[in-house]
């Protein structure tokens, strides 16, 4: 639904440090997703906002130096990697505080997780869908979500869910398509 170049031009404007507007736009668009990533990397929930701040700070710091390598989703992969590195740094610090030991072992452990580009972009997509689903879920009634989850994810028959939720089959079809359409819209919003 986005004109194809919107995000690209945003990133270009982002690289101009004087462009506060682009920065505000970027933060508005990506902060919720980045905080989702941080959480998924295991940051304790009371620290999620702070770590997300660090991720944003790191991006702000290095975005000028980022260069498009021409491969698909280059910026997103880079951003995901930044988020991951910051999260790891944070976790290492936590580890140090909890155990009183140096964090380098722990850090190495995490760093050894394969970081192939293919996997990065796959994980980006995975997390993006997850994030969108969580977000969309909050918009809908619980019964609509159950209709979606039961029939689409668990593959149960529409009739069974209709009886369980005490609604008509028609409303199951409607709810689940609405939820799907919203998830798709959210995902597309953040994709180049």
């Amino acid at each position: 639904m986005q004109p194809p170049d919107t995000r690209h031009s945003l990133i270009a404007r982002l690289q101009n440090p004087a462009n506060e507007m682009a920065w505000a736009e970027f933060v508005a668009a990506y902060e919720p997703f980045l905080s989702h990533l941080v959480r998924r990397h295991g940051a304790a929930s009371q620290h999620v906002p702070d770590v997300t701040q660090q991720v944003l700070a790191a991006i702000a710091h290095s975005v000028e130096r980022w260069r498009d390598d021409g491969s698909p989703a280059s910026f997103r992969r880079w951003m995901t990697r930044v988020a991951r590195n910051v999260a790891i740094k944070y976790l290492a610090r936590e580890w140090r505080e909890v155990t009183g030991q140096g964090g380098s072992d722990f850090c190495n452990l995490l760093m050894n997780v394969p970081d192939a580009d293919a996997e990065q972009s796959q994980s980006y997509e995975f997390e993006l869908i997850l994030w969108a689903a969580e977000k969309v879920r909050a918009e809908f009634r619980e019964s609509s979500w159950k209709a979606f989850w039961g029939t689409v994810i668990e593959g149960r028959p529409v009739q069974a869910l209709a009886e369980e939720l005490n609604v008509t089959p028609g409303s199951i079809y409607m709810s689940r398509s609405r939820i799907m359409a919203r998830i798709r819209a959210e995902v597309r919003e953040l994709n180049d």
């Binding site: 079809y173 409607m174 799907m180």
Partner: protein, 545 residues
């Protein structure tokens, strides 16, 4: 007076007939722009029609997207840690403080010790006796001003709003403007204190309840009561408009009724706007319930006094019907209904409503501000004459204007056709959607900029951090859905039970906190950086070296 009624019954019988397959209807159901009636019909049709079931799914997403999403969610559900269908709230909610505790904490944090034994603490010259209620905007405390020997209600802006410069300024500005309105149908503001860390305002403590409360307890009101409330609310609005003040958040929760069904008073002028400034930044979502917004407001356009008239129409509709006129499953759906569809005719919901009243409310509900009554005082005058007619029909005839409106209402009883008129069918959906998103995005951006202005003043001295500072919109505790929709403070409404329940907690916390925790200096924005204040700058300094 009767034929229209028969038409109406005829019309609704026809509509129970099965409808035809209609792709446009399916598209609009995804956008949530169908009227309730259309939605019922379509749901029914969908139960039977295989072709439409498939078509709806195709319209929602293509095959690849369906399978990608379902695969992803299935995988996430299987991996132990993350996504679970049975959980009501997203996982990160669990360890975060509930709104209640959070709000109580903040109130306690800002109280000063009191010499009064039964007081929880002191806020300026006011002894705080308890908590009346709380909402997304802040907290309402019950207090006593010893010097003036009077009970008062103190509204305190929540720290996350107080930390936004723009929200703060607006709070102060609007509160002062409201304080300048002296009118029997506007809840008076006794004083405004906007320079402290948390801005607050003081109002009289009156025994009253909000219309929302009343509606929840008693259901729809009799038409004559609705008109009586209409007169008073419109008078209150007129007084505000005369001061150049637009309320922006006229809804049943913001209209208080004196106990015993007496006087009606408007409250919370412009505070909704202050909330928008800060919360839009964070979530991109409009704070609270949008159900009473005007079309121009829900599109994020500039509004004037006539926006309040639309909202007043929605309030009166809700009082007659027992429920708001525009309802949908999601916030987004509500906004679309407000901008694109007509509410179900009032008399279909409550046959006791006279046609002229339905028509007058319909006039307030005109999508085009220019088609509404021109001013709140014109509206009040009209309602006053209508009320006279209702009380003494032999003495006062129905005002010509109302009779005229009722007359013109009759032929358009079938509101399906009027809805379709408002939907140019040649406009493609993506385009419409894009326009919509653009509006939301614009709102969002405004919020973000407001926040960045604040951030600039907060981080201003550290040049290196200014850029980082433009995004310190730390996510607030994610409000549980039910809480976030209750933006109302509920003014001086009666929620004493609640107050009693929380005051114990308060007491405990007060004793814990005071000896140990000196109040932070004014420059420290404790609300912004409570848990790990140094993380951001530590890491920054490290990486700068």
């Amino acid at each position: 007076m009767r034929p229209d009624r028969r038409d109406l019954i005829g019309a609704s019988l026809v509509e129970l007939q099965p409808i035809q397959c209609d792709r446009d209807l399916l598209l609009r159901s995804l956008e949530e722009t169908l009227s309730e009636r259309q939605e019922e019909q379509l749901t029914e049709h969908l139960s039977e029609c295989y072709a439409c079931q498939r078509e709806l799914e195709r319209l929602a997403a293509d095959q690849a997207e369906w399978s990608k999403v379902s695969e992803t969610l299935r995988r996430a559900a299987q991996s132990s840690d993350s996504f679970d269908a049975s959980r009501r709230t997203p996982p990160h909610d669990e360890t975060e403080p509930r709104l209640g505790e959070h709000e109580t904490d903040f109130a306690v944090d800002f109280l000063e010790p009191s010499r009064e034994a039964k007081a929880l603490g002191r806020f300026g010259d006011i002894e705080i006796l308890g908590v009346i209620g709380r909402g997304a905007m802040g907290i309402v405390l019950k207090g006593f001003q010893a010097e003036l020997n009077r009970p008062v209600a103190v509204k305190v802006l929540a720290p996350h709003l107080a930390s936004s410069g723009a929200a703060r300024q607006r709070f102060a500005r609007e509160a002062r403007a409201t304080a300048a309105i002296v009118h029997p149908h506007v809840m008076p503001i006794l004083s405004v204190h906007s320079s402290g860390r948390l801005p607050y305002l003081v109002m009289p403590y009156v025994g009253c309840e909000s219309l929302q409360h009343y509606l929840d307890r008693n259901g729809p009101l009799a038409p004559i009561e609705v008109v009586r409330i209409g007169v008073q609310a419109a008078r209150g609005l007129a007084a505000a408009h005369a001061q150049g003040l637009v309320h922006r958040d006229v809804k049943p929760a913001n209209i208080l009724m004196e106990k015993g069904g007496g006087r009606v008073m408007l409250t919370d002028f412009g505070l909704a706007r202050a909330a928008d400034d800060a919360s839009l930044t964070r979530t991109g979502v409009i704070a609270g319930t949008p159900q009473y917004m005007s079309p121009e407001q829900s599109r994020g356009e500039a509004i004037d006094a006539r926006s309040d008239l639309f909202s007043l129409g929605s309030v009166l509709y809700a009082l007659c019907a027992g429920r708001p006129p525009f309802r949908a499953e999601t916030c987004y759906g509500v906004l679309r209904r407000i901008t694109d569809t007509e509410p179900r005719p009032l008399r279909e919901v409550n046959p006791e409503v006279p046609l002229w009243l339905e028509a007058v409310i319909g006039r307030l509900h005109a999508k085009d501000p220019a088609a509404r009554f021109a001013t709140a005082s014109e509206t009040a005058d009209l309602f006053e004459q209508c009320l006279a007619h209702m009380q003494q029909p032999a003495l006062f005839s129905l005002p010509a204007c109302a009779a005229q409106l009722a007359k013109s209402r009759q032929p358009t009883v079938d509101n399906t056709s009027s809805e379709q008129r408002s939907h140019p069918s040649n406009m493609s959906v993506p385009l419409r959607k894009r326009r919509w998103f653009a509006a939301i995005a614009a709102l969002w951006l405004v919020g973000a900029l407001a926040a960045s202005l604040f951030a600039w003043s907060f981080f201003g001295s550290r040049t290196d951090s200014v850029r980082i500072g433009t995004m310190p919109n730390r996510s607030p505790p994610v409000l549980p859905k039910s809480e976030s929709s209750a933006t109302q403070w509920d003014g001086a409404a009666i929620q004493i039970d609640d107050a009693l329940r929380t005051s114990d907690v308060l007491h405990a916390k007060v004793e814990e906190l005071w000896p140990a925790a000196p109040l932070p200096a004014p420059g420290e924005t404790e609300a912004l950086v409570p848990s790990a204040p140094n993380l951001l700058f530590n890491s920054e300094q490290e990486s700068t070296k």
